[in-house]
Amino acid sequence: MDPECSRLLPALCSVLADPRQPVADDTCLEKLLDWFKTISEAGSSLLLLQENPCLVELLFQVLRPQDLSARVLSFSLRLAGIFAAQEDCFQYLEGELLPGLFGEAGPVGQAAWTAPTVRSGWIQGLRSLAQHPSALHFLADCGALDTVFSLQGDSSLFVASAAGQLLAHILGLSMRGPAEGLPSLQAPDWPACAQKIVGHLEESLRSTAPPQVTQALNVLTTTFGHCHSPWTRVLWERLSPLVACLLEEDPLPAAHSLVDLLLSVARSPVLSSDCGLWETLAQTLRHLSPTQAGPLALGILKLQDCPQALRAQAFGVLLQPLACVLKAADQAPGPPGLLEGITGDSVTVDTLLSSKSACAGLLCRTLAHLELLQPLPQRPSPWPQAPLLGAAVTILQFCNGSAAPASNVGGRLCALLAGCVRVQRAALDFLGTLSQETGPQELVTQVFSVLLEHLRSPDSSATVLKKAFQATLRWLLSSPKTPGCCDLDPHTQLFLRELLPVLQKRLCSPCWEVRDSGLEFLTQVTRHWGGQAGFRHVLLTSEVPELAEQLLRDPESYVRASAVTAMGQLSSQGLHATTASPEHPGGQQKSLLVELLRILSEDSEGFPRRAVMQVFTQWLRDGHADVTEDTERFVARVLQAASRDLDWEVRAQGLELALVFLAQTLGQPGSHCPYAVAPPQATLHSPPAQALQALCRVRLFEFAFRALFDCDRPVAQKSCDLLLFLRARTVPHSGPQEAGGSPDVVSVEAALQRWRAGEQGPPLGDLEPETVLAVLRSMDLEGLRGALAESSDHVEESPQSLLQDVLAAVGVLGENQADCY
């Protein structure tokens, strides 16, 4: 421990032990515990207590009858637990203190126990100390286990959950050591602690009260999930008949927890070879309602080794609601596929038709489960892509009213799902996922058609439109190329022709969310297809590029930023308004640069300015025609605008751009990472003088030097990295005698001093490369980098500062304590 902290500790302890002194801030005690935990983990807790007896005194204070606040009491319990996690320290505290804190004589049963924070502290304290055999004896002797049992049903979710976790932990701990590794060890030979817990679990599983059953199931789930020792097999053998009994009850108690337990057991390498387990899983699948069965089915399908019959059953359960939908729409389950034969049982149909929310709930869950399953290697094979596509399309048609079902069930589903945004969102997500594989052309056409319907529909909400754009993008990007040709296939081409007018309309939407999603879509699709002649043609014959340009002046800053990105992308690929001014090729492009510079210097919001910097950096990297026309002028203008920006992220982006320019100017042989500072002896060529001159002309150094002392740390850090890179590339090649101590160097260093002090000062003016090199040589950039690597509030967040804050707050707490924002 830091000597200063050691010095402050006694005062801190006396403040904490004084019931008249409220603690400054509700986070202080948490942070103190974090600190003590770090110290304990790094060294001996016993030594810590011996060197700082005030800590033990503080813990003893808790035993005295006084009006100590619940928060401090809880803190003390947790603190004692942290120290007692080490066995020698546990023994040091064991005599009077630990029984006084955690035994029957402690807060249990006293008035303070009514505060959930005290009960939580008690549990957490025990959880910390339960690390060694001595702790187990203590738990058994002091009667704590019974309290933990009762806390499983605590009114506080936090306490109840922690109690369950603690039981699983104690069970695992007590079986460790001699009992571990003995698969034949029968339950009667288990340690007393484990016996007691297992007895309690058995009793709970037999209980008729569902909360108790749930508690027991949760403890077992945690146990089987975390511990894979042979003894868990004995435990499962002992308890599985009780679990099986639960399956016979109707309705099934604690279905959710039961599913979790069975999956946890099935995932355990020690237990999954149990044949009875697969039968239990199959039985449970049959027994659960369609809504409850979904998670179990998905879990089974995710298992690595599982009998094929069970997998088929589970997949059938997952597919049932979709089979119902297809049947309701009078569609055959399709050509050979897994949906064949799954007709949808009556329970599923009943659930689907019972109410709007039940129908939406079951469909959304099913679609989400299948979405999770689709990309997994262990998903069922063959994967029924065609029926699934059909089902997703049908659901979307039910939702937007474009389906014309002939059956009664179809009619009812149509009524239930009409305009149901929740299902639309889920179905569009699922449809997007299905784009990973293709399907019969006829179905793919239907997919595009239903997506277009959604994109066109005036009833589509902003979130539905966003998802429709995303799904469309995924399907477009996965659409097959025409064999032997690098262009788009005719179907896609046709679709694009229909899509662009819709996109055009959506870019004019009164809703900013829709305009923004449209622009994001445009950017993405252009990034991928900007080079495809077919796409270029369709895009350029539409008004989309003009509309996107108009959105650069949108009232909503998010949209302006997206428009900047989209325009940057279009321009990079020569898709910006070339048809608008055929007689002046490039004329419009210039105006885009000017417009983006205007946004950079004038826009009141950070997002568009940041987007401009990203576009400019990309343009510089790619050698965009407008940039290469006069790169130095471009860089100088951008850096000048960025240096004045109040948004530190724009300034940081400015440094990124400077770095790209630097790398291009100085050359970057063999190094792809500009931040990877090469050692001085690296075999680099000396940068030509004119390269350094160019850096001076664009005023890159002034920008970087100012940024080095920026009040926003990431800017300073980025600048430091840039200057280190520069120095590594330049200084080794210049002699130490050059320009050292010249008047220019002195004035630059004086300016640096001012900036370091937070003053602004006048600009540096024109600099000579020699001056810059001399300044770079004289700077302790490595030291600065080390300092900047720490967080800007590391001093205020340090333990010493924390102790000072707690002590300083004594007596000055007033009204501001409860104030908020």
Binding site: A24, P116, S155, S357, A368, S517, C711, E790, E797, C820
Partner: protein, 600 residues
């Protein structure tokens, strides 16, 4: 389900971060999704694992409602929707939707700027999260789905702050968020109608305080600023981008105008324009005075407050600067503080609470020698003032709101346990309702009477209307009919229709009763006396004396007969159908009291 369950994940006996789960009639709603600024790790967010335990978030939760744009109410939203995975609807008012991303972005920038922050959301996540928002208007009933509806009420506090009523069928909960029952310089007072919810969840920040006059605090603030400026000092006011800052700006602008002061007032560039833009856009959310004077002069177009440039901090002479962030924990406000701290002529005014781990917290607790980076020590000689301008209802205001809404129960959140205890007792005594104050993680369960919707047949409705009684939603009344329960639907139809539908024959059931009267006259005379008596009392009913001597009132039949053993006693045989049960019982009771003496 016949109960309402409330579990605070945050704001349960604390003011850290609001996040309250409400389960009402099988619907699950999350009220606010706040962040605790005092932590740098995941503890800053509510522990959502307690919701994910119940399956997928989007399946479990029907919607999220955000009461206002303060980060302790919305700061965890992008984390919740983009990192934890909630993909359902989020409701908030239009101003909150507009301003929320500014504050989230502001805080994100500070968090990233400070460095060492793990697991924080990005700008793109904030945008994606905001795209999931459905904006609502005041007093507009929004259908989340067929069963769940919500409605916003004006809450004062900050621009766009709202209280929300959550209703499923006849069960409802009102959540106040933060509110203010007294108008301030730019906002009005909170208001709610007499909606009589089953439960009112109210904030209780100032549960035990009757706040001193706001005018006094304002005078004090202006006096301190004025004195500092007069003696040539500089005043720093660290603020968060939007909210309280605007209130202080109006205050200073008016004062500067009145006193003809010349010292410059600066506000971080961009923020003034932004604030101005939003206050103009949402002028209807401000108070009456601002709305009235808006035509002549927009209160948010400040004459004296100028955009700040970094170079201005070094200018000589007095000035007032509003700078972000509000707790002096990074960026510009901290930089200016460091520059000015050494001069005793200067002053820093902290208008809000500062969490531990910030310079703001240190100076508010009186620390004057601050350790800075590189073992440097900054001696704070400038004056340090704390002035709370937070707009919360005080104890009186809370009681006033409870009185306005007339809830069946009250639940306190967003306050300290001890203060809540006091207010709880006061509410229980004064309003005779149960008051709860659960800690975080504790669930309060309130039983409710389930309300079952029943369809009514057109025939029955027409019959009711034929009697001249038009249906009125505000006046519930009794309707007689036959309840048919079929296919889990309930229908009320006329008994004739029920018989027809079910193919049943009609049986009439009559109740009978014998009333003995001391009357030695003949049966006919007794009947006549009964007729006269009933005729005089039951003026609104059709009382008839039939030729056979019996008396009828609606379906009730009264016949007089002689007593078999006592000639001085007559027996009145009263019978009635079940439809006239009420009248029959009344009439029987009446006759039992005897007949009035006949005129001699």
């Amino acid at each position: 389900m016949p109960d309402i369950r409330v579990t605070p994940l945050g704001a349960g006996q604390d003011v850290g971060r609001s996040c309250i789960l409400v389960s009402i009639a099988g619907k699950n709603v999350m009220l606010d999704c706040g962040m605790h600024m005092g932590f740098n790790d995941d503890r800053r967010f509510p522990d959502f694992s307690y919701i994910t335990r119940n399956g997928r978030l989007t399946d479990f939760l029907d919607c999220v409602i955000i009461s206002h744009f303060h980060l302790d109410h919305c700061g965890a939203l992008p984390y919740f929707s983009e990192m934890v995975g909630y993909d359902g609807p989020i409701y908030m008012t239009h101003p909150t939707q507009a301003i929320c991303p500014i504050l989230l972005e502001d805080y994100r920038k500070i968090a990233v700027d400070k460095k060492g922050e793990a697991n924080f959301f990005t700008s793109q996540m904030i945008k994606d999260c905001m795209k999931k928002v459905v904006a609502v208007r005041l007093h507009q009933t929004v259908q989340v789905d067929d069963e769940l509806e919500i409605k916003a009420y004006y809450a004062g506090h900050v621009l766009g702050a709202a209280m929300f009523q959550i209703k499923v069928g006849s069960e409802s909960v009102v959540y106040t968020g933060d509110y203010n029952m007294t108008p301030d310089r730019h906002l009005g007072a909170a208001w709610i109608d007499k909606c009589r919810p089953n439960l009112l969840i109210t904030e209780s920040t100032y549960a035990t305080t009757i706040r001193d006059s706001k005018r006094c605090r304002e005078r004090d603030f202006l006096k301190k600023v004025h004195e500092t400026v007069e003696r040539g000092g500089k005043v720093l006011i660290p603020v968060f981008a939007l909210g309280r800052a605007q209130e202080l700006c109006i205050l200073l602008e008016t004062f500067w105008e009145r006193m003809n002061l010349k010292a410059p007032i600066y506000f971080s560039t961009g923020l003034t324009e932004k604030a101005n833009h939003y206050y103009k856009l949402f002028i209807t959310w401000t108070n009456q005075k601002i709305r009235k004077t808006f035509v002549q002069r927009n209160m948010f177009e400040f004459k004296h407050i100028k955009a700040f440039d970094r170079a201005f901090a070094d200018n000589p002479g007095p000035m007032v600067v509003f700078a972000t962030p509000g707790m002096l924990h990074a960026g510009q406000s901290l930089q200016i503080f460091r520059k000015w701290a050494g001069n005793e002529k200067n002053m820093v005014i902290m208008p809000g609470y500062c969490v531990q781990g910030t310079v703001g917290h240190k100076i508010l607790s009186g620390q004057r020698k601050l350790e800075m980076e590189g073992r440097q020590v900054l001696e704070v000689k400038m004056q340090v003032e704390y002035m709370s301008f937070s707009a919360h209802a005080d104890a009186k205001g809370i009681m006033q709101l409870v009185g306005q809404a007339e809830p069946e129960s009250v639940l306190l959140v967003h306050g300290e346990a001890k203060k809540m205890e006091f207010l709880k007792q006061k509410i229980e005594q004064e309003f005779r309702v149960n008051c709860y104050m659960p800690a975080n993680g504790e669930t309060v369960t309130l039983p409710t009477s389930p309300s079952i919707p029943v369809g009514i047949s057109l025939g029955l409705l027409k019959r009711e209307m034929a009697q001249g009684l038009l249906p009125d939603t505000r006046k519930p009344r009794l309707l007689h009919g036959t309840l048919i329960v079929k296919d889990s639907s309930f229908r009320l139809v006329s008994s004739e229709q029920a018989l027809k539908e079910l193919g049943l024959a009609e049986h009439q059931l009559r109740f009978t009763c014998r009333v003995q009267l001391h009357d030695s006259r003949k049966e006919q005379e007794t009947a006549t006396r009964v007729y006269s008596h009933l005729k005089s009392i039951l003026k609104d009913h059709c009382v008839q004396h039939l030729p056979d001597g019996s008396v009828t009132v609606e379906s009730i039949l009264v016949q007089a007969a002689a007593h078999s053993e006592d000639p001085g006693t007559k027996v009145l045989l009263v019978s009635w159908t079940y439809q006239d049960e009420e009248l029959g019982s009344y009439l029987t009771a009446l006759l039992k009291k005897g007949l009035p003496q006949a005129p001699s």
